[in-house]
Amino acid sequence: MTLSVGGVVSFAAGAVGSVVRLVRRLVNPSAARPAGRGSPASGWLAVTVLREPSEVDIAALPAPLAELGGRVEARTRPAPGGKGTELAARLRDRPPGGSPAARLTGRDPQADLRSALRQAKQVLEAGEVLAVDPAPHGKRPPTPGGLLLEAWTKVAPKAGVR
């Protein structure tokens, strides 16, 4: 494979452009705005963790979030209805460029934070980050469709609707 991962990803984004546009309309009614202005100004990403607020200590966050260090700020609040604690985090320095398409393909500035937040939730709830690789598989010929999917799979842990 001669393309870099980034190259494959942008190829992926191009080839699935119409799907992404469709999905964009589905997930974000305001997606008619130009790309780059899609991300919410506040920048908070959030997950709800089934733990008491006292058990989600932002001074001692699980490794995946802690590793981002001073780049992020975090906050918590109780979730209604016994659903646990809402854990939110955002980049202190928020560059522009989080269009819905970039978010769906994990290429936005918050991509690493999004996956760190999901992993932190896993650590708090299930005690560890679930690993899927290496999963047994057979021969994978480098077809365009296959490479596209592989690229999307690689970024899928970081990708999301917001």
């Binding site: 769906l104 679930l130 970024v155």
Partner: protein
């Protein structure tokens, strides 16, 4: 080790793949005893769920023997005979705690794909594409099972492998449909599809006290299985007008609960079949919802329609007017197996649930391509092709 893999649209292979290893503390490694084809695999085979990569190991309905356990596993030991639920649930998130296991927040390491499609991601599933986590499937001698204390269940002595196998997917799917659709004593329940899933939904409805259960299909051998092994009534949709017949059976009301167990590749005898197929092939709709439409028309006012059949994206000509004006409840779900397997295994031990008749063709992994061919085309009365990796 040898495994049955997806090689492309309508292409199944048998090839060498590496053996799985324990990656998380809550994993076990299972030596697969039996692993079956499921109607859901046909959607992968046909390319309707476009997140399969050539070389992916297929199979998500299986049982076997524990050969290795991770440090965090407390319920299982080497040598235990267990059946494993197709969906991977952590048991600790809010959804798992609500019993909505297939919605687990933590079981799918690739949440970005289904979030893009549906707005939220659901749990992971063995052998069911990279959208559902990229987990290797069970058509192989060994499989890694994460969150094993939650997803693997000891098989009671006296329940055969062939019976227990279907406590992995077909039976819990049927239980999910009947229970979540709110089947109650004295209900009349209609089930579309007499495959493994439809048959199990019918049996679940009967055990939940339904007054009358009717299963609809066009294959004689499957309808015959429903009458002999499940004990429900049947209708052949090529012989009768299904909504009319159901109305007559229910004093003009229509069934209280309609369970659809057909899915996105539904067949129909009318001209709309051609319409749906062309639109699906042109990618103007991703799914053919024939049976759901019929279920909505047939259902009594204020009744419930439940889609157990798998749908991936968008459908066309959806009778929303009937849903709204008849005050229907429309629900669906992937199976919440971890919630239902204990009661299913009890029913199996008491002979109240028999499933071995579903395994019409048992074969070795080498016969993978032939097994899928037979299952897809329903050749020789095939209801499920089952692989025995040890054979």
């Amino acid at each position: 080790m040898k495994a049955v893999t997806w090689r492309g649209v309508n292409k199944i292979g048998v090839e060498d793949v590496p053996e799985p290893t324990i990656l998380n503390d809550h994993d076990i490694i299972l030596e697969v005893g039996l692993s079956t084809t499921c109607g859901s695999d046909l959607h992968l085979l046909g390319g309707y769920i476009p997140a399969m990569r050539a070389g992916d190991v297929l199979g998500h309905e299986f049982m076997g023997t524990v050969v290795e356990v991770g440090h965090g596993v407390t319920k299982h030991h080497v040598g235990d005979r267990v059946v494993v639920v197709s969906f991977i649930g952590c048991g600790q998130c809010w959804y798992c705690r609500q019993g909505l296991w297939s919605l687990c927040d933590n079981g799918n390491p690739n949440p970005g794909i289904t979030e893009a499609l549906w707005g939220q991601s659901i749990g992971g599933c063995f052998g069911y594409s990279h959208a559902m986590g990229g987990w290797a499937g069970s058509h192989a001698p060994y499989i890694r099972v994460p969150y094993a204390d939650q997803g693997a269940f000891a098989i009671p002595d006296g329940v055969s492998d062939e019976r227990a196998l279907f406590a992995s997917d077909a039976a819990p799917t049927g239980w999910t449909g009947a229970h979540q659709a709110g089947v109650e004593a004295a209900d009349v329940v209609a089930v579309w599809g007499a495959g493994g899933v439809g048959q199990m939904a019918a049996r679940a409805a009967m055990l939940m006290g339904a007054e009358r259960v009717v299963v609809i299909d066009r294959y004689d051998n499957r309808l015959e299985q429903v009458r002999t092994h499940i004990g429900a009534e049947t209708l052949d949709y090529e012989q009768v007008d299904v909504p009319g017949e159901l109305r007559e059976m229910t004093g003009g009301r229509g069934p209280d609960v309609c369970i659809e167990a057909v899915g996105m590749e539904a067949h129909s005898p009318g001209p709309q079949y051609l319409y749906d197929q062309v639109k699906q092939q042109l990618r103007l709709q991703t799914d053919r919802p024939t049976a759901v439409r019929e279920a909505i028309y047939a259902c009594r006012k204020g009744g419930t329609v439940f889609t157990l059949g798998v749908f991936a994206g968008l459908v066309d000509k959806f009778p929303l007017g009937a849903v709204m004006n008849k005050a229907l409840t429309l629900r669906g779900a992937q199976q919440h197996g971890q919630r239902y397997v204990p009661q299913i295994l009890e029913h199996m031990s008491r002979d109240e649930l028999r499933t071995e008749h579903l395994a019409t063709h048992v074969m070795s992994l080498d016969d993978g391509p032939k097994g899928y061919e037979m299952f897809k085309n329903k050749e020789d009365g095939c209801v499920r092709a089952v692989f025995r990796p040890g054979a």
